[in-house]
Symmetry: C2
Amino acid sequence: MNDKTAHPGHFYAVGIGPGASDLLTLRAVRLIESADIILSPQAAGANRSLALAAIEPYLDAQQVETVNYQMKRDGQSTSERWNAVAGDVLDWCGASKSVVMITIGDPLIFATTSYLLQGLEAGMAKENIHVVPGISAFQIAASRFHDPLTLQEDRLQLMSATDINAVEAALDSCETLVLYKAAGVIDDLLALLRRKDLLRSARLVSCVEQGGGERVVADLSDFDPQGLSYMTTMIIHCGRRSWLEQGG
Amino acid sequence: MNDKTAHPGHFYAVGIGPGASDLLTLRAVRLIESADIILSPQAAGANRSLALAAIEPYLDAQQVETVNYQMKRDGQSTSERWNAVAGDVLDWCGASKSVVMITIGDPLIFATTSYLLQGLEAGMAKENIHVVPGISAFQIAASRFHDPLTLQEDRLQLMSATDINAVEAALDSCETLVLYKAAGVIDDLLALLRRKDLLRSARLVSCVEQGGGERVVADLSDFDPQGLSYMTTMIIHCGRRSWLEQGG
C-alpha cells in the first residue's frame, strides 16, 4: 500500500503513536488530512481524548465521530459495542466515504481497534481495509533510556501485567520484558521484582509524549508508586543472550 | 524531548521505519532535514543503502557519511568497529555539529545502532543523546494481515530465528511469536511448524515497503521458500489468551 490519500469506500486503521503530534508517520498524517470521516475512540471516564488532541493540527473539514466505549473486561459487551461501530463504518464506506479510525500507539498492539477490524472483515472486501502501524508505548518508553530492547539472540516479550503469575514465568523466558497496564498491580510487581533482585533492572514510564504528567524512572529500587497513571509501561531487563557459537 | 530541529553538539539515533519515505515520523523527518551530518549504515555486500534511499526526499545540504560494517556474529570486531564510529561522532559533536544516525526500523530493536549508543554513553552527556523510535519490521508485517498481534492477556514475543531449540520453546510461552532472520533457517522452521501443526497459523513477509521484491504469505501450508530474502519476518499465531475472570 502506497496510497497517499484516503480512497472513497476504504477504511483505514491508523496508529498515531504515543500522543505527540510529530510522532505520527507522514502516511498517517496524509490519510487523516484526506479522510471524509475520522473515528476517535474515547474510553468512558476519560476527561479528554488524547488521540484527538494528537491529530488536532491535521483537522480541517473532516467529520469527527467520537466512539465511546467502556473499559470492561467482558468479551460479550466488548464485541457488541464494536460490532455496532462496524455497522456504521460499513454504511459510510458503502456510501463512498473514506473512514479513518485513529488509535493511540499501534492498531494491532493491545488496541481496541482490533475488535473493529474483526467486525469489518465479515462485511467488507479485505483489500478495502488498511492498517497503518504507529509507534507503540514500549518504543517511546525504551527511547528514554537508550538501552537496546533486543540485540543478537535476546528475546523480547510484551504482555499485560494483570496476571502476576504469568509475569513471574515470563521473567525466565525472555531477556527483556515489557509490561503494559503496570499501575493496577504495581505493589505486587514491586514485591516480585524485589524477590527476584530485579528492582535495579526495571524501568518505568508514564504519560510520555502526552503533553504533561510525564514520569520517567530508570531504577525502581526506591520507587514510590503513589499516584501512578493508568498509562504506565514497565521495561525489565532480565539478562542478555549473545550470539551462539557458529555451528554450536 | 520535543525538539523540532537537530541541536548543535547533539546526537540523534533516528528510526526511519521499514523503507518507504512516508513511514518516517514527522519528528524523524525534521531532525534529518536540519542535521549537519547524517550517518548512514551499510552492511558489507549490500548493493545499495535501503536507509539512504528512504530518506532521499529529505536530503539537501547535509553531509552524508556512510558507515560500512561487516555482518559478523563476532562481539570483538563488532564493538571495535562501532567504537571507532563513536570516536568520529564525539569529534563532530565536540565541534558543535548535529549528527543523525539513521536506522531501518527502530534503533533499539535488533539494530546495530545499539552498539554505537553504548560507545557514546562513555564520552558524551546523556542529555545530548536522543533516540527517536521508528516503525519496526514486525509492525509493518502484521499490518498486511490485519490480525491483532496482542489482545487482552496475550503475550507477544520477538526473537531471532537462529536458535531453533529456543524457537520451539518460545511456541509454548507466548500467543504470538515474531521471528526475525527467518530466511537462514527456513527449512528447519517449516519442519518445526509442520510438526506442531502450525503451518496454517504462520505468516511471512519479505521486503515489505522497500520499493520492490515484496512477498506476503498468509499461510505456509504450501509455501516454497526458494529465493527468500534475508529481510524476512515470520509471525506465528500460537493461540489467544483471553481476559481472566475478575479476581480469579
